[in-house]
């Protein structure tokens, strides 16, 4: 099975966000970037499917700045066979434009399975998998916690409100991965050395007209200063009093 894993380079999750002077993006000076956490589960699953089937290829695909080569090398070091970087200097927040660009690339480079993280932890818009699948005419299962493959059929488990769903589909499919699907491997020294010899194709992304535009980006309003009610269990009656009469929430 030929598998394409969609990866995004995002600010590390421990980043303190500062708004840039344009009021529409974040200050990137001093920010460390990494592979989107959910994409690590997608890459790991792709490698496991290839190992299980004993055949096929794993291609890591991203849209991002030239600097995203580092994340792509990491994907190669973990075991991807090939990496493709479509470059742009703009911040990719519009999943529809991303989906359209990736759909064009995937039409020219057919595969049977596209794996993605359930969302990117910067724009948090979790629209890419479904939007991409619609454009490709592929089946789609989102936010899976378990995934099994037998021949051309996938069986996945996903959480819904208060229950779990078992969903099936056949290739070709787009499947988005949730945390907990697997335990991603890290690159070892042999993988890191080997990655230098693997193909990393870099070309300019041909991004379409965006479906949305950023008006502003703001930090959330600061919360009013709270107070320490007291110490230990003795403070419980005062807390109940505050919740009931001050906050009026119980």
């Amino acid at each position: 099975m030929d598998i394409v894993v969609c990866i995004k380079r995002v600010p590390a999750t421990d980043t303190t966000i500062k708004i840039a002077a344009d009021g529409k993006s974040i200050e990137t000076t001093g920010v460390s970037f990494e592979m989107n956490a959910y994409d690590e589960f997608a890459l790991e699953q792709a490698l496991r499917i290839k190992e299980q089937l004993g055949t096929g290829t794993v291609t890591a695909l991203t849209i991002g700045p030239e600097l995203a080569q580092k994340v792509m090398r990491d994907a190669l070091a973990r075991g991807a066979d090939k990496a493709v970087l479509l470059t742009t200097d703009d911040w990719i927040y519009d999943g529809a434009a991303t989906a359209q660009t990736l759909a064009t690339w995937l039409a020219a480079n057919p595969c049977q399975l596209v794996l993605c993280g359930k969302q990117a932890v910067d724009s948090d818009n979790n629209q890419l998998p479904g939007n991409l699948a619609a454009r490709l005419g592929f089946a789609c299962i989102t936010e899976v916690n378990k995934l099994e493959v037998a021949d051309d059929t996938f069986t996945a488990e996903r959480d819904i409100e208060g229950a779990r769903e078992i969903v099936t589909c056949k290739t070709p499919a787009v499947i988005s991965c949730n945390k907990g699907l697997n335990e991603p491997r890290y690159a070892n020294l042999k993988g890191i050395m080997g990655a230098k010899k693997k193909p990393l194709e870099v070309s300019a992304a041909d991004l379409p007209t965006p479906a949305m535009e950023i008006v502003s980006l703001e930090l959330p309003p600061a919360r009013a200063e709270g107070r320490i009610i007291g110490e230990g269990a003795d403070a419980v009656p005062a807390l109940i009093e505050a919740l009931r009469n001050e906050a009026k929430v119980i």
Binding site: Y93, L132, E143, A163, R164, I228, I229, P237, L239
Partner: protein, 324 residues
């Protein structure tokens, strides 16, 4: 005339409450744009649910055995036909497991995009916009749609549920066959668990509880609020340690929640956790360390041992609930 479409979610024959909240958002857009609110619901045997779609001018029920089980691709295709036939200028759905799966596919078929998890919507001179948290809640983005129709999923617990009369129901036969993906089975979670994102109260625990079995204290406090009110949450540290399932994680790689009342127990308050709960109405922190960052965002704090404070709190809450 262009209309505001709401895709209503019906599960097991029941209308899900966040759909009524999405109708409220749709009403705001309809007032600003001059259109009507039209609901579309899919399923098999959904008469009772569609009669509850308050605040709508018209309801389209795509009903039949072919739609007994959810299929993102088949449902999206049928919905898109109705969006086009009813001049949909905007399509809204609740930000639930189904909404997150279905509306992106609908938007792709319409060659547009979707803004997800939005906390407010707007329409100025025919241009639709929305505000949504990004970076796991560390920032808020205001976005304007540049393609039509405008699609958005609405964060639960953020708009009042719509009330009033429901529109006349127009029935459409659900197509059968031709499904790429389909739900084979739904396995209910035990014990009537309240979904984290929809809970009125979230009781979250962290490393300070010292062992996975001590989460019993958290579960008991949540249960004290009565059935269907409170959900259990967890910090990333305890999820990564395997104490709790990822579905309970609050924060940047988990869920962003804004319940009216949030308890952080034995949670120090890492930046990515704070991002996921700072929009809660009232925040209570219980922590041994008086210098823990969680106290910076908490409205009320108790410095102390969770094993001592929580059982006393559980008892007190149970009394309040019993005397209501």
């Amino acid at each position: 005339m262009s209309n505001i479409i709401v895709i209503a979610e019906v599960r097991g024959g029941s209308l899900k409450r966040p759909s009524l909240e999405a109708i409220t958002a749709a009403q705001q857009l309809a007032t600003a744009s001059g259109g009507q609110v039209i609901a579309i619901a899919c399923g098999n045997g959904i008469d009772a649910a569609t009669s509850e779609l308050a605040g709508t001018s018209k309801v389209i029920a795509i009903d039949g055995a072919g739609f007994a089980n959810y299929s993102g691709d088949a449902w999206a295709k049928a919905i898109v036909e109705q969006v086009k036939a009813n001049n949909g200028a905007a399509v809204l759905m609740a930000h639930t497991a189904m909404g997150k799966d279905l509306l992106p596919r609908v938007s792709g078929l319409l060659d547009t995009g979707v803004i997800t998890d939005v906390v407010s919507v707007s329409c100025d001179d025919g241009t639709f916009g929305a505000r949504k948290p990004v970076f796991g809640g560390k920032a808020t983005m205001t976005i304007r749609a540049t393609k039509s129709p405008f699609c958005a999923t609405i964060r639960p617990n953020n708009f009042e549920a719509a009330s009033g009369s429901s529109g006349e129901v127009a029935k459409v036969d659900a197509p059968s066959g031709d499904m790429l993906s389909v739900v084979k089975e739904i396995i209910a979670a035990g014990g009537g668990t309240t979904p984290l994102a929809e809970a009125k109260v979230v009781v979250a625990g962290g490393r300070g509880l010292k062992a996975p079995e001590k989460f019993k204290l958290i579960e008991e406090l949540a249960a004290a609020f009565g059935p269907g009110v409170a959900a259990v949450g967890a910090s990333r540290a305890v999820v990564d340690a395997g104490w709790r399932p990822h579905s309970e994680q609050v924060g940047q790689t988990g869920k962003v929640v804004s319940p009216p009342l949030y308890f952080a127990i034995g949670i120090s308050g890492a930046i990515q956790h704070l991002a996921g709960m700072r929009t809660a109405g009232t925040i209570v922190a219980i922590n041994k360390d008086a210098d823990a960052p969680i106290f910076k965002v908490a409205d009320f704090g108790i410095v102390g041992d969770a094993f001592e404070v929580v059982p006393a709190l559980t008892k007190a809450i149970a009394e309040v609930v019993a005397n209501r």
